[in-house]
């Protein structure tokens, strides 16, 4: 969470980051709730019924943002992992550690909502097409990173090994993204792109973007909360005051 600018660098130290994160979380959580409320309302009630799929398509407002988040979060996690390896910086590894479970959650959500969408439209809960398969692989990768970290006792080795694994797996993300273009399979192609005009109605696109923003806010809130836990777990400095909400965790170990 460090940006350029001299007075921000002090937040890259865990002791300073912890209270800052604590102050920011409520804002992000509120934004997430608010935006998802708006987005879901727009998606489920305001957006028009689809010509071919009827109302079943409305799951898209959860499915697509979740899929986007699963890919974004993996790349961001890999970037933090790379920074950690390159600069040998512990906070970067902590950030990667905090992001992984949320990324896994969104991947699972994308797969689940995709199934729910697939049944009425394709007639099957699951098909082995390129995009679904590579998204499934992404879920396995997230789980692998989390499992690897928890299997290694030595903190430094755990950090660096899971960072290497995250970086090695980055290659899957472009595969997921381009899979609908490279293979002519069941999953529909990209309807929203940065360069071309979307092939969906305006309200649909807006609702999807609002939901994406809501998921971003959620990710920030949850990642910051997890970072706080990670910091308390690792930095057990008796001189540094314990956060009020988590008493005696530091001394209990």
């Amino acid at each position: 969470m460090s940006t350029t600018g001299t007075n921000w660098f002090k937040y890259s130290s865990p002791q300073a980051f912890h209270p800052l994160a604590g102050r920011l979380i409520p804002w992000f959580a509120a934004a997430a709730l608010g935006l998802s409320g708006i987005g879901l309302y727009m998606g489920f009630f305001v957006a028009p019924t689809d010509a071919t799929q009827g109302d079943a398509y409305r799951i898209i407002f959860v499915h697509v943002p979740a899929a986007w988040m699963s890919m974004f979060l993996y790349v961001i996690m890999a970037v933090w992992a790379g920074i950690g390896l390159g600069l040998n910086a512990r906070p970067s590894f902590m950030m990667a550690q905090a992001i992984a479970p949320t990324g896994a959650l969104f991947t699972f959500l994308a797969l689940l909502t995709g199934s729910m969408w697939g049944k009425p439209t394709w007639g099957a809960w699951w098909v082995w097409d390129a995009r679904l398969t590579s998204e499934l692989i992404l879920l396995f990768q997230y789980i692998g990173i989390i499992l690897l970290r928890s299997s290694i006792d030595d903190l430094r080795r755990a950090d660096r090994a899971s960072a290497v694994l995250a970086l090695v797996g980055v290659i899957n993300v472009p595969i997921i993204y381009f899979s609908v273009r490279w293979w002519n399979t069941l999953h529909q192609g990209a309807s929203v792109s940065i360069t071309a005009a979307p092939s969906m109605a305006g309200t649909m696109v807006t609702a999807m973007l609002i939901m994406t923003l809501a998921f971003w806010m959620y990710s920030f809130a949850v990642t910051l909360a997890r970072m706080r836990c990670v910091i308390v777990e690792r930095e057990r400095q008796p001189s540094w005051g314990k956060p009020a909400a988590i008493p005696d965790v530091a001394e209990a170990r």
């Binding site: 030595d154 903190l155 430094r156």
Partner: protein, 243 residues
Amino acid sequence: MYETSGDVEKTFANRTTLKSSTLRQFFFFGPSGISPNMFQTVALSGSRGERQLFSDVSVTVKPGTLLAVVGENGSGKTSFLRMLCGLLSPDKGMILWQEKDIRQLKELYTAQLTYIGHLNGIKDELTPVENLNVSACLAGDESSGEIVQKALEAVGLGRSVHRLPTRVLSQGQKRRVALARLWLSTRPLWLLDEPFASLDTAATSYLTQRLQVHLSSGGMVVVATHQEIALPTDSVQYLRLTR
């Protein structure tokens, strides 16, 4: 530069030691002869997991001296040695070889050292001769059959065990096979982790003699050890690691 050809005394005759790699390094490091600041650590601190092992260790090892790292079990001797090899990163401080950071030098530095750690680094399924052949080949040393056999004899292993698979040898014999590399090594810096463990008195004296030969040709040795080393006191310095 570590001067070879005539300065290094080998236990066996007819070994040429000046190789093309030596000439390359002569030109790289300059004809400055043996520098007194050949090998030093600067404010080295290390920890293992969350345990601080030692801090602010600064020591210089001059050519012809042996640095004995002493301390109880768990005081960080092995970690210290592994840092000197470059296998472990220190928390703070640096290690200098000819006043250049070993992290910069990387392979140029590891080409100067022979490390024998706790683990023997030999394969149980191969014979001692085969093990030494491979070690010598991977170190760029000469490894003809005769020289390898002489090295094994120098460390006290008779010819009868040379062609047996190493797994049938005793712990002490395996240790000797591991240490036999020192009789083949032409490298200036030796890093040894408890080399005298599992050795009987005869082998201990062979090793001590070999260390003496190495030191008198201008080599350097860093040894982690519990025991007293029977070498002239002016060539031995002691380092006790403190937190």
